[in-house]
């Protein structure tokens, strides 16, 4: 594959003012061990723009009150802000209605919710759940637990050595016993972008629902749940420039209406007596207890910020960063790249021959570069390649080509030390 040169890439993107964007992120302007911080662990969590930090601080200073309960002024303000955030999320993923946006603690909780509630209602002994070999543990374990509970069978769609799903195997695995296909949009350890719309079409043809783990997708590309036609989609706020503690589950109403609640408690009920409890309507039926409403509001702000820059432009810029990083890291030689799919987003994973991933990470850290090393919570991916871990650089809209040069220099120094 021919990669554009840095200059060409910069010319293409001369309207993308990354230096100005960086001004919005206070944490980036610091030195670690006396070196400028180069933060390339965005797949784990993204940094927050001032507008998000200010939203949280201002909310606690001026508007804090619990949502949905009070008759008073502040409660009304808080509830409005919270429901506005839900509207923003609906618009962000183009869901038909706000009822379909459920706030959770994160992607993991969203998936657990579906695995439990969908499973209770729709999965029985002898049924099958499909996941892929490249899933994050959070999109494997909840389904394993469901299968144990309901006597269903977990089956795995393999990927090839380039990190792409083996399409024929996927088609072979599809049959009317499959009730759910749980698949990642973008792999966190390989960077692979999976063809979700095609997967949904095939799965629906046998009557299976599809849950999309979009934790590594929504910050990198435009995600439209109606265009994808997926049944469920999950993502986390903290990976898309918002606070920790908030996540989203989108679901089609035909499922959500029929699924039993996940947890019982406050706000998810219409009426409670010791004889009978009547559950609340969507989305509140699935939001037991006090949701982290401040984090939810921060998610609304983060989405507004991201849309203000424009996700298409972010996607184009990050794609150039990824190609440039892949080309420069590969040019160092004596390494294995993990994930060479035709369509990739967000990260590059690699391992130098004879240099442990942990050693690589420890050393570049002291040169100011933050990477992630290890299994990335995808042990089956590591087993596929026969390694105990990899080194991953993952990108966000505020990363620069210069930062990639610093990363590559740091990696070259590590190589020289062995």
């Amino acid at each position: 594959m021919a990669y554009p040169t840095q200059t060409a890439a910069m010319e293409d993107l001369d309207t993308f003012d990354v230096q100005r964007i960086r001004e919005d992120f206070p944490i980036l302007h610091q030195k670690v061990y006396g070196k400028p911080l180069v933060y390339l662990d965005n797949g784990a969590t993204t940094q927050k723009p001032s507008v998000v930090i200010d939203t949280i601080a201002d909310f606690y200073r001026q508007r804090n009150s619990n949502i949905h309960r009070g008759v008073h002024y502040l409660s009304d303000q808080a509830t409005t802000a919270f429901e506005d955030a839900r509207k923003t999320v609906r618009r962000f993923i183009n869901a038909p209605h706000e009822r379909q946006i459920i706030f959770t603690r994160g992607t993991t909780e969203s998936i657990n919710l579906v695995a439990f509630s969908f499973g209770e209602r729709f999965v029985n002994a002898g049924d099958e759940i499909l996941v892929s070999e490249m899933e994050h543990h959070s999109n494997i374990v909840p389904w394993q637990m469901l299968c144990e509970r309901r006597g269903a069978k977990l089956r795995v769609i393999p990927f090839d050595d380039k990190g792409e799903l083996v399409w024929e195997k996927f088609e072979e695995l599809l049959n009317p016993r499959v009730k759910m296909v749980a698949i990642t949009f973008v792999s966190n350890s390989l960077g692979t972008v999976n063809p979700i719309a095609r997967i949904v079409e095939k799965a629906h043809a046998v009557g299976a629902a599809v849950l999309v783990d979009a934790a590594q997708a929504v910050q990198h590309k435009v995600v439209d749940v109606q265009a994808l036609d997926c049944d469920f989609l999950a993502f986390s706020g903290h990976k898309v420039y918002a606070s920790t503690g908030i996540g989203v589950l989108y679901g089609k109403e035909k499922w959500l209406e029929r699924m039993p609640p996940y947890q019982g408690g406050g706000d998810m009920i219409k009426s409670v007596s010791f004889e009978k409890t009547v559950f609340n309507e969507l989305p509140f039926k699935f939001e037991a207890g006090t949701v982290d409403y401040v984090a939810a509001i921060s998610l609304g702000t983060a989405i507004d910020y991201l849309e203000g820059i424009g996700l298409e432009r972010v996607e184009a810029y990050e794609d150039q960063l990824l190609r440039y990083a892949t080309e420069r890291i590969t040019s160092l030689g004596d390494l294995r790249l993990f994930g060479q799919a035709r369509e990739k987003a967000g990260s590059v994973s690699f391992l130098f021959d004879g240099i442990h991933h942990y050693d690589t990470g420890l050393m570049v850290d002291k040169m100011g570069v933050a990477l992630r090393t290890g299994t990335h919570c995808t042990e089956p991916v590591m087993q596929h390649f026969g390694v105990t871990g990899t080194v991953r650089a993952s990108f966000a809209l505020y990363n620069t080509f210069e930062e990639i040069d610093i990363l590559v220099e740091a990696l070259a120094r590590v190589k020289r030390m062995f």
Binding site: Y358, D359, L362, M363, T373, M417, F418
Partner: protein, 141 residues
């Protein structure tokens, strides 16, 4: 040489390095030099699993002394492992049990032994101390 004398010697060796990379270079050399553990002891039984790096630790009594051997798959971890072995190997069980391993902090590697780092080293130190306690009990009985 006592445990503390060995620790002070290590602190002195590391005092020469102003830069992190020099420290790491030295740890890499330490890690490369020593074949720390016999292959037959590199078993699951002796494995301390960290999610970043793995450590193997073997202990046996030789007379009234505890002999440690250890290894790691990551070389910086292995360098630190070799320092821990240098300090605690060939000591009496109660010395190991009571040892205050201050050198780790003084040479700036404390974060490598913190519970937030899943590299097997903290568990290794605990395990070495447990061996000290266990061998002391066996000797008493």
């Amino acid at each position: 040489m006592t445990i503390d004398q060995t620790q002070d010697q290590i602190i002195e060796e590391f005092a020469e390095f102003d830069e992190w990379m020099d420290k790491y270079e030295y740890l890499i050399e330490l890690g490369k030099d020593v074949p720390l553990i016999e292959e037959k002891h590199k078993t699951r039984e002796h494995l301390i699993e960290g999610c970043q790096s793995r450590v193997w630790l073997h202990a046996a009594m030789e007379g009234d002394r505890v002999r440690f051997s250890a290894d790691s798959d990551a070389i910086i971890t292995k360098g630190i492992v070799s320092l821990l072995v240098r300090v605690l190997d060939g000591r009496r069980p109660e010395e190991i049990k009571n040892a205050d391993l201050y050198f780790i902090d003084r040479i700036g590697l404390k974060q490598n032994l913190s519970p937030t780092r899943s590299n097997g080293l903290l568990a290794m130190v605990k395990q070495m101390k447990l061996y000290g306690m266990a061998f002391e009990q066996i000797a008493k009985n």
